[in-house]
């Protein structure tokens, strides 16, 4: 099973993603940016679901920046899941190297499809 890391500081959201995605993937969870970065480096998930506005430490975009700056993590696919829904937020996220962008509230089934798409892409790249 492919590894997916869920990064969100809201337990409710992590739980909901867990219920939606638990059957299909090997799930990891982090509730803040620093933990997330550690887990990305340690567990090398295929896909990271990354919240943007998080308390303390690193926010989602900073985590993304660090992932993209680390050559060892170049295959990591990142999907931003953000409450920020303006075009400028989307553009910024994609510019910084996100592979997809979801705005809250989102459809968990579409998110599932997007993760699968990223994994398929990953296979082609390899």
């Amino acid at each position: 099973m492919h590894k997916v890391l869920i990064v969100d500081d809201q337990a409710d959201i992590r739980r909901m993603m867990n219920i939606a995605l638990g059957e299909d993937f090997d799930l990891l969870e982090a509730e803040d940016g620093l933990t997330a970065l550690d887990m990305v480096r340690q567990h090398r998930p295929d896909v990271v679901l990354l919240d943007v506005m998080m308390q303390g430490g690193l926010d989602g975009l900073q985590v993304l920046e660090k992932i993209r700056a680390d050559p060892r993590l170049k295959h990591t696919r990142v999907i931003l899941v953000s409450a920020k829904g303006q075009v400028s937020d989307y553009d910024l996220g994609m510019q910084m190297g996100a592979n997809a962008y979801f705005v809250k509230p989102f459809s968990p089934l579409q998110l599932l499809a997007a993760i699968n798409e990223q994994i398929a892409q990953l296979k082609i790249d390899n």
């Binding site: 809201q10 939606a20 409450a83 303006q86 809250k104 509230p105 459809s107 089934l109």
Partner: protein, 829 residues
């Protein structure tokens, strides 16, 4: 050269008049002093190293930016010559070093000058980060003095001004220092020296504190005898030159040179600019017109000065009865020689003058008139000789008051300047500015010199402007938007009341200035001066077709927004319209968009907050609903999902309530309250009995409820107030933290109920506490504790709408106490 007697009389008369004219404005010895200083300076030897000498040889000309309007430190005389302290020092340096300073008018933004040097820097730190660095040795130091009415008692020092009102420059460092060192002094901030002097004279202030050299100069040049220096302050001001930072060698050379200048030389320059009134006080019009009488004669005089000198001497000897003494003639000649340069310039002016000149005797009967007089009036010299010009020129529309004034001046043998209607020989009416000077000539005879300037065109023009001005005033004064109108010459011709109210810039200080001056004023008042852009600068970045739009028959730029810091914090939106009209080239509009900016700011804050606060629970609701619909789960998970949906829906609903309430309360106030008589006890009981905070089993601990009569309040809204306070108390308390509620009565005209709600939770630091009533402010930014940041805003709004108050005390890690105070009104009007 032959001089017939008639001409000679005029010539002598002219010289005498010239001296008289010049001495009207107590003559300076400027030219003379410069020469003296120059000669002495050349004797100075600066010890230069070989390298420095070589460098000077390689750089014989150095460009320098000189500022204007800093009299007497430096200024531009008659639009063509730099003068002042710094210029004299530059002259000295030129002689000492054998180089030449190419002076240029400085850009007001000193750092923007592309010259090698700046001649005057008063604020050295302002050069930091620019290409210039100031010399360490100031070329001039001035004390900061206290000026009072001459009649005022002598002060011992600055401490005597405590409790008094004192005028100072708004922008200078003195205002700052006084505010810090002597807060007991009431400062009266002014823009220009004249304003400060005026305030002293009218008694608006007790004293004026400022740069002694500059103020003395202003006093002298304004012939102000009322205000005088009283005593020095411990402060002083220094004036520096500055050099390109990448030329440290020149800096070293100049430092050395300035230090070489002797005390005596410094004193001479100081004397020159402090003891002497300036030449610009000369009555030019008079002098120019006298020259106009015989411009040719004078020109010849200057060319063949020497020959004429002998001629004069000979004549003087021969006609000794006409000239009182030979000494006087020599003095006259000496004066003329000294001022020959100035006179040459005046002669140039006179060439272009069309003013007519008439010389009369003490009874006003014409002795002489120039050709311009004939051109202007149509009367020849013969026709007007031995007659009063007024008898020929005045007519039925000439104001009798003006004629009376002229007669009075004639009787009292005094000067007069007056504007009146005259008539030409052919009956044509014209407006004239008549300037009559009463003088005594060399023989002790009384004479009048009358200069007439045709001002018909101006008068007509002013009349049209005045008519239009009235219309414009009426229109502009009612406009809520600030407006500045530029005339055909791109000068500010009109400023409306709204603009003055917005910017504090007075109309009288702006009219006649350029648009760039306006920009300078506004820029200085900006919160972020760097972000201010003039219309042209903005047009450059906004020079795209979509940034312009048509407006009437002109083109307008899109609005530029900037924030003023002073005198009011305002966000202004500037737009402008160019017109092709004759009198107006441009109208600049300023719209006060402060309120709009605040709302926009709030909106964007709300979008971010609402995004997080609403989108997060909505994600849970939408997510579970979709999953329940599309997939099957075990019963346990299903129950969990439905519960989550329910909880999050409740949260969203309460957030929406908050939002709506804020919106309603904003539109305010008591009108929206439903004030009804309620009993206190059951009301409080029902709240505390039903209030449950998820995750905390402790109920609100309530000691007792005072016995009071029913009173008026909006039960639904007041319940919301108490609920919000309780929710906060629980939200920021640890898992089993206690929350206490205490009620008691306050004695006052209308008895008041006080409700304290206290928790022992995480509390707030002073910064958090101070912002608690700000909209959307959340002490916890993490999003861990749900909320919109509207709860306490609502509490305050509802309490105030009831005529009540709210206080919050809090200590970090100790807890928070909210006190609500509600008037118990037993009747409503």
């Amino acid at each position: 050269m032959k001089l017939n007697f008639h001409n000679f009389i005029i010539f002598i008369f002219l010289i005498t008049a010239l001296i008289t004219g010049l001495s009207f404005g107590s003559i300076s010895l400027a030219q003379d002093s410069i020469e003296r200083i120059s000669q002495e300076a050349s004797n100075n030897k600066v010890n230069l190293t070989a390298e420095e000498k070589l460098w000077l040889k390689a750089h014989p000309e150095i460009s320098i930016a000189v500022r204007h309007g800093y009299s007497p430190i430096e200024f531009v005389f008659e639009l063509e010559e730099f003068r002042g302290f710094s210029i004299d020092y530059l002259k000295k340096l030129e002689l000492m070093l054998g180089i030449k300073f190419n002076k240029r008018m400085a850009n007001q933004n000193l750092a923007a000058n592309d010259t090698d040097m700046l001649s005057l820097v008063t604020n050295v730190p302002s050069l930091e980060g620019t290409k210039f660095s100031a010399l360490e040795t100031p070329f001039l130091k001035s004390s900061i003095g206290i000026f009072t009415k001459r009649a005022a008692p002598k002060l011992d020092g600055i401490n005597d001004l405590h409790g008094k009102k004192v005028a100072v420059f708004k922008t200078g460092f003195i205002a700052k220092r006084l505010a810090e060192d002597h807060p007991e002094i009431n400062l009266y901030l002014v823009d220009i020296a004249e304003e400060a002097l005026d305030a002293v004279i009218t008694g608006k202030v007790d004293a004026y504190i400022g740069n002694t050299i500059i103020i003395n100069y202003v006093l002298k040049s304004n012939e102000n005898e009322t205000v005088a220096f009283n005593v020095n302050t411990p402060y002083s001001a220094e004036f520096y030159m500055a050099v390109r930072s990448d030329w440290p060698i020149l800096k070293a050379i100049l430092e050395k040179s300035l230090r070489t200048i002797s005390e005596k030389e410094h004193a001479e320059i100081l004397d020159k600019w402090t003891k002497v009134t300036y030449l610009s006080k000369v009555n030019y019009e008079l002098v120019a017109s006298i020259i106009a009488v015989s411009i040719l004669l004078l020109t010849i005089f200057f060319i063949s000065n020497r020959r004429l000198k002998n001629e004069v001497k000979r004549r003087i000897e021969l006609e000794s009865s006409l000239i009182q003494s030979k000494v006087q003639a020599e003095q006259a000649e000496e004066t003329i020689r000294r001022y020959s340069k100035d006179l040459e310039r005046l002669a140039m002016v006179a060439k272009h003058t069309t003013d007519s000149v008439v010389i009369t005797d003490a009874e006003g009967k014409t002795l002489w008139a120039n050709q311009a007089f004939t051109r202007l009036t149509g009367y020849s010299l013969e026709e007007v000789l031995n007659r009063k010009p007024g008898q020929l020129l005045q007519g039925k529309e000439t104001s009798p008051q003006s004629i009376q004034l002229l007669r009075d001046a004639e009787k009292s043998f005094s000067d007069i300047e007056i504007e009146l209607i005259n008539y030409r020989k052919n009956g044509e009416k014209y407006w004239v500015r008549l300037k009559i000077s009463a003088i005594v000539n060399a023989y002790g005879e009384r004479r009048f010199i009358a200069i007439q300037t045709d001002i018909t065109k101006q008068v007509n023009y002013i009349k049209t402007i005045e008519n239009n001005q009235e219309d414009m005033d009426a229109l502009f004064s009612i406009s809520p938007d600030g407006m500045v109108v530029l005339d055909f010459d791109h000068r500010i011709s009109h400023v409306n009341a709204a603009f003055v109210a917005m910017t504090g810039l007075q109309s009288r200080n702006l009219v006649g200035l350029n648009e760039s001056d306006l920009d300078t004023f506004l820029k200085a008042a900006c919160t972020e001066p760097k972000e201010y852009k003039s219309i042209n600068e903005f047009a450059q970045i906004a020079d795209r077709p979509d940034m312009k739009f048509r407006y009437g028959d002109g083109t307008a730029n899109h609005a530029f927004k900037f924030q003023l810091q002073y005198p009011l914090q305002l966000t202004l939106e500037r737009s402008c319209i160019e017109t092709n009209q004759k009198r107006i080239s441009r109208v600049i509009y300023f719209k006060d968009v402060t309120q709009r900016a605040i709302i926009e700011n709030m909106k964007s804050e709300f979008i971010t907050t609402a995004a997080h606060e609403l989108r997060t629970p909505m994600s849970v609701i939408l997510g579970y609903a979709e999953l329940l619909k599309m997939k099957t789960f075990t019963q346990d998970v299903q129950i969990e999902m439905v519960e989550a949906i329910h909880n999050k829906s409740e949260l969203v609903a309460s957030l929406l309530d908050d939002l709506l309430d804020v919106a309603v309360i904003e539109y305010r106030a008591e009108k929206t309250l439903k004030l009804e008589l309620h009993a206190l006890k059951p009301f409080i009981k029902s709240i505390t009995d039903t209030f449950i905070f998820p995750g905390n089993d402790n109920r609100v601990s309530l000691d007792s409820i005072p016995e009071v009569d029913d009173f008026y309040f909006d039960a639904q809204r007041f319940e919301r107030v108490i609920n919000n306070c309780l929710t906060n108390a629980y939200k920021f308390s640890p898992a089993n933290g206690a929350v206490e509620m205490r009620l008691y009565l306050l004695e006052s005209a209308v008895p008041e109920l006080a409700i304290e709600i206290q928790d022992y939770g995480i509390g707030m630091n002073p910064e958090q506490l101070s912002r608690i009533f700000e909209k959307f402010y959340r002490a916890d930014r993490s999003g861990h504790v749900p909320g919109t940041g509207l709860g306490m805003v609502l509490v305050k709004d509802i309490m105030e709408a009831h005529g009540g108050r709210v206080f919050v005390e809090s200590e970090l890690d100790a807890g928070t106490k909210v006190t609500l105070i509600l008037p118990m009104r037993t009747s409503i009007e």
